[in-house]
Symmetry: C2
Subunit: 371 residues, 2 copies
């Protein structure tokens, strides 16, 4: 552990304000402001003196002072569950790209999927006087903090949520996408399916996907899909997930609520000695890039989180300019045909096959080495 030699850096002047510039240029503050902002008349003489003074002093405006006086902070608050989830991270990056040109900056908070934390976070963002909010949270329709934003007249745009409570949202139609998956499963002859989710309770997206999936299954006279809500542990340790899968009735196809889960399922299946898609079909959701590069490319619903971010940013920008709230149509999704989806094995098409005895899960760790 190395300590840097202590040196008070040549701190020219902690703060140089417009007052300093004015003094040095020998003019009034108002004049300096006008010159620096090009917002009013000034003689060529004083103009150049002010410019020079600002230059010499290394002056730059304090956004704080400006914000206070204009009551516009040029800051947009953003709340997402977690940046560790690349879907949200990409969305935020999408916001960033749109906002970059506009002078707005992003104040970011994350709730870690916690329905209390996200309300607090929004309250804090509001206290920081953000000009607008872009939010993905647990329950936007019941959020007190979001109601406060409305009271305060702060524009809000949602991301990922199906539109709710009159708040415009940049989203994909989760239900429709899920129905599409059910259709594919059905067309291939799958009957016994499952829906896999992590944090079902705190994700309306997951719930909407399940709802769509279920609805379409029923429409086709298929048995209701099994809803499996995983714990964090199950999701993160393939061995645990393998146990869970092994204990299930004779599934032939699994719809995972996101691609990570889908890939984890593949891993678990491998541990069980099942082959994907021969013994089990898997479809994911989101369409992360990696899925495409896999040895067995993942079949999935492909969405574009960055586009979602961009749309949310544009929507908010419009609101900030006084536009009326407009709900744009959902962003498109596409079904990406991978190699993890195939018809069920002939001996499983009928609904009454005997569950195969999976090889002992515990003896399978070596499998890790050869994949």
């Amino acid at each position: 552990m190395e300590t840097f030699p202590y040196r008070r850096v040549e701190q020219v002047k902690a703060k140089v304000t417009i007052k300093d510039v004015a003094r040095r240029a020998g003019c009034g503050i108002a004049t300096a402001s006008r010159v620096l902002n090009n917002s009013g008349p000034a003689s060529a003489d004083v103009r150049s003196r002010v410019q020079k003074a600002a230059q010499d002093l290394g002056f730059s405006f304090s956004a704080l002072g400006r914000a206070l006086q204009s009551s516009r902070s040029m800051t947009v608050g953003c709340l997402v569950p977690s940046l560790a989830n690349p879907v949200f991270a990409e969305a935020v990056q999408g916001l960033q790209t749109v906002l970059a040109g506009t002078g707005y900056q992003l104040l970011i908070a994350s709730s870690n999927y916690d329905g209390a934390a996200d309300n607090d976070a929004i309250a804090t963002l509001i206290a920081k006087e953000v000009d607008g909010l872009i939010v993905t949270m647990v329950a936007p329709e019941h959020s007190a903090a979001l109601a406060l934003a409305r009271t305060r007249g702060i524009p809000v745009a949602l991301m990922f949520h199906d539109p709710v409570a009159g708040l415009p949202s940049a989203h994909v139609d989760n239900g429709a996408a899920a129905r599409e998956v059910a259709r594919r499963f059905g067309d291939l002859g799958h009957r016994r399916t499952a829906f896999l989710a992590l944090r079902f309770a705190s994700s309306d997206r997951s719930r909407n996907r399940y709802a769509g999936f279920l609805a379409e299954c029923r429409l086709r006279g298929l048995p209701d899909p099994v809803l499996i809500e995983l714990t964090e542990t199950e999701a993160n340790t393939p061995e645990r997930l393998a146990q869970t899968l092994a204990a299930l009735p004779d599934l032939t196809a699994i719809f995972a609520s996101n691609d990570f889960l889908a890939i984890a399922v593949q891993k678990a299946a491998r541990l069980l000695g099942w082959r994907v898609p021969r013994d089990l079909s898997v479809v994911g959701f989101d369409g992360i890039e990696i899925g495409r590069l896999l040895d067995v490319p993942l079949a999935t619903i492909e969405t574009e989180p960055a586009a979602m971010g961009r749309q949310a940013a544009l929507t908010l920008l419009d609101l900030l300019q006084g536009g009326a709230p407009v709900q744009l149509p959902p962003l498109p999704f596409t079904f990406r045909a991978g190699a993890t989806l195939a018809p069920p094995r002939a001996d499983r098409r009928d609904d009454d096959r005997v569950a195969p005895r999976p090889p002992s899960v515990l003896s399978l760790k070596t499998d890790l080495k050869q994949g």
Copy 2:
């Protein structure tokens, strides 16, 4: 496209300030402030009146006013190249978790790996009067904006960079990690190796990795590794990458500067009909979770970006509390033994085998379907 019915929401009062609270409570502003902050004496009577008034009015402090008067914005500026890169996204999430408890908020900017944009971004953050900066950028040692921060007395912590210019950095020892890879390659008998990078010019991390890799190769009397800088296109389209690889001298092992590239290499190898690791060994860098779940688990240098974020946040927090800058030791990395690394094929151990004719790249697209 649906337009919401126009309704001016019941906007109780655009802004309720402490002045309003004071008026309603029938006391002075100073008193209200003291009560609300518990920062001074007040009679029980007035105390309760103020509390009630604040409650009724739905008062909350404006962080702006506070920041202006105390010249502490309770905001930390953060610059990363892009949140679309999960390594940075996780690091930011790491910052977030540490900062969450402290009252500091994160103001985020991203440069898209652009060495001019990142300077501008920092300048903007400084203008917003951030109390501190956490930065990953193209050239921190030459950044004018970073120099400005120093002038202004704004504490700075780096992430990912090897420490430079007296700025403490939360990082892993890229050189050491790369040497470790060279050692592994060497021990297994590889001689002809390559280092694969994207944006070599703008990433000191990549350069440090290459330097370490090269140094260790020379130390062991191995031929210099080929440095291959990919274009975005090559990195993103496996077919193009396959062409590039096919054109190379008879490599037996590739060290990719990050796991995405490593996975892309595997894909490209598959397209060429090469088997990993039989025909080509691949080692990545970063240790992203997915690598572990792959069919052929990726050998890689495992790092923990979130830990990097946490360390950077703690370092900055210490600086913010007046601590002297301290460079902590680099964070640990581990070599993750995957299944993509093996000895070269016997017929390739000698250094003068004939380059095999790769099958036509163009005819290989169908491969996508079966992986």
